[in-house]
Symmetry: C2
Subunit: 448 residues, 2 copies
Amino acid sequence: MKQYYSENKERFLEELFEILRIPSISSSTAHKDDMFRCAEKLTELLKAAGADKADVYPTDGHPVVYGEKIIDPSLKTILIYGHYDVQPVDPIELWHSDPFQPEIRNEAIYARGANDDKGQLFMHIKAFEYIVQKGLQRHNIKFILEGEEEIGSPSLAKWAQEHKEMLKCDIMLVSDTTMIGEKTPSINCGMRGLSYMEIEVDGPNKDLHSGHYGGAVVNPLNALCTIVDRLIDADGRITIKGFYDDVVELSTEDRAMLARAPFDAKEYNEFLDIDDVNGEKGYSTPERTGIRPSLDVNGIWGGFTGEGAKTVLPSKAFAKISMRLVPNQDWKKISQLFEEHIKTITPKGVRVKVTTHHGGNGFLIPISSDAYKAAAKAVGEVYGIEPVPSRGGGSIPVLAEMQQILGVDPLLIGFGLERDTIHSPNESYLLSQFEKGMESIALFYKYY
Amino acid sequence: MKQYYSENKERFLEELFEILRIPSISSSTAHKDDMFRCAEKLTELLKAAGADKADVYPTDGHPVVYGEKIIDPSLKTILIYGHYDVQPVDPIELWHSDPFQPEIRNEAIYARGANDDKGQLFMHIKAFEYIVQKGLQRHNIKFILEGEEEIGSPSLAKWAQEHKEMLKCDIMLVSDTTMIGEKTPSINCGMRGLSYMEIEVDGPNKDLHSGHYGGAVVNPLNALCTIVDRLIDADGRITIKGFYDDVVELSTEDRAMLARAPFDAKEYNEFLDIDDVNGEKGYSTPERTGIRPSLDVNGIWGGFTGEGAKTVLPSKAFAKISMRLVPNQDWKKISQLFEEHIKTITPKGVRVKVTTHHGGNGFLIPISSDAYKAAAKAVGEVYGIEPVPSRGGGSIPVLAEMQQILGVDPLLIGFGLERDTIHSPNESYLLSQFEKGMESIALFYKYY
């Protein structure tokens, strides 16, 4: 692949830049036509790379691109997921170049989508082209490229359900994440799930004067704080009854493997300007954010929040609370347990309403799986260092949904770096990572 | 007085209406001239009633009206406090008549300020007129009428300090509160003090993705809830070290006296639409709001509070927290104790900043005092029922300040009723209360 890239580098970049020039911002209706234009362009690229078919499929929202090259139904099938929509570009004044006029500076591509996810999905198209052109294809290869990832993928699950047969595969391959560093290549073998809830605490039917009622009427704000405080115990464990029932404890071996990822506690604290971390007793920081569930208040509000002072005992108090789940925890079950638990810990004198916003399950590719092993071998060969397995603390709910629909695990082989500042101004993607990514993907086909 | 009122009723009302027609809204700079006009008018009324002198005194804000009739420096001196400024009138569309065109409907005066406090202070001017005209004056009588009560009296304390000698008195008399009911006359013999604080909890130096950091980085919102929860124990007692040190326990006798005020728990809960009350163990609802200190969160905010969901682990969290204090608790000392305590209960991993907004001390007129006894006798005679002593849970910080400057207690003999909806549209004042108020005040002069 290395040679193929050096022979075709100019063409590759020009093709990528053509896609990057299309402002496919999914959150803005003004860009509806751009979404179609981008989708059309991708089908052309897939066909040019060697796909037997590649089409734009309408959905309830932005279109899905699907392409494939089936060589033998009895062979293993790899489904590549990517998304061609991008984040908005505000604040535009902080960009050093036009976000939709890609340019190369300091050995990196600068543009909105340079990494997330146009740059990364493009590596897959080109690795596919290489495999096909060189007669190296040993799997059936399918592409599904959506246009709504940045807005929560509202249409994909339904569409995938309707095209389940067409999407059948043995493994889902995704490059939409980062690795720890250029010198510490890593493969993300799991993501946490999510259950996002909202609590409303109702007290008196109107805002009261805290002087006249304070001390006797239960204050929804105080009650809310009590509820939140009761959700986590002194050992950092979530107190919801049954919460840990489905959590699979990792083996000592697995924990040792994950602990190989470099972690500098001092640097971490300095980066965040915190005195110390804290969390579930008995686990390290990377474990707390990777392999253990967590619970966070994401927002809280109620009463008088303006400047100055108002002595109100408010009628209502609100909090948004989300839980990060680990594979095997079912987010719907957890949401239910949360709701039941909240009711049991609400102080007397107030009522509580619990709403589920949304959620998704976590997923996990075992380090012992063929797919992980192939990816590790490929990445190791390209980087000259064995990659470390990592566990993403975040959630990609659409992948959890796809996993449920298709019954296969996604493998997250991402080549982004923290420095790429995706979602922010001056998004970039290092040419070296772009190249190594393509090489790694091409080798994955060899070793899987 | 009864007869004097019936002979002069028309004139009284016309004089009151003249003041009510002046839109003396202290919070709006557009009404600066109206404030002066109202102050001028009041000096005229005081002089016409019999004051030896009555003047408009400029302050850093709206002017103060001061008038007096000194008959013998060796006699006791009564200082009457009132305020001639009013609340804004929004939402104006809910008024059934022009707030500044007073009218009488259903035996009540309707206008902004009809009760609070123009109507109530006017009773004092007329009772004074009666006493003077009928040769019944047995005390030196002083009036101080300010124009900034509704905006927190920012200028009065300084002015009073500068005119301390002129304001010297034995008792401060104030009609700016309500009584329990027409059939349950009450005299407010104490108000709670106030300490209003703000807490800022600082976590990481930027908002973080809760998926990537949740579980390890201490979340300021969760930490804030823990702090708040730790402020009150399971028995409803405030946990701040030293908080109760200066709280004077009421005698069984005093508690029995206060318990005479009618209180219907069922009605109370129904009025507020709450299932139950809760508070400090061992005290009744009226005690919890009247004679015991309390702590309330008045506002809380942080993180994502918009519609939908955002998985943020925010950098900061905020709460406004106020404490109602009882007489003998010093609000500055309590604010200090609060700050020290917060620092000891803040979870590790976050930092906390504590700010004092403002405060004031509570005050208390003993039921056994001459002033209380005279007021009780007067009110009892007019209403035909012995009034009950009540304790206001709220705070009038300016009176606490005046008490400190002048060294005398304020007696709150208010004739407003809950139905008057002061501060709201269609503020009113029952003619019967207006009349009984004047009679009670006139009798107070007789019995004090």
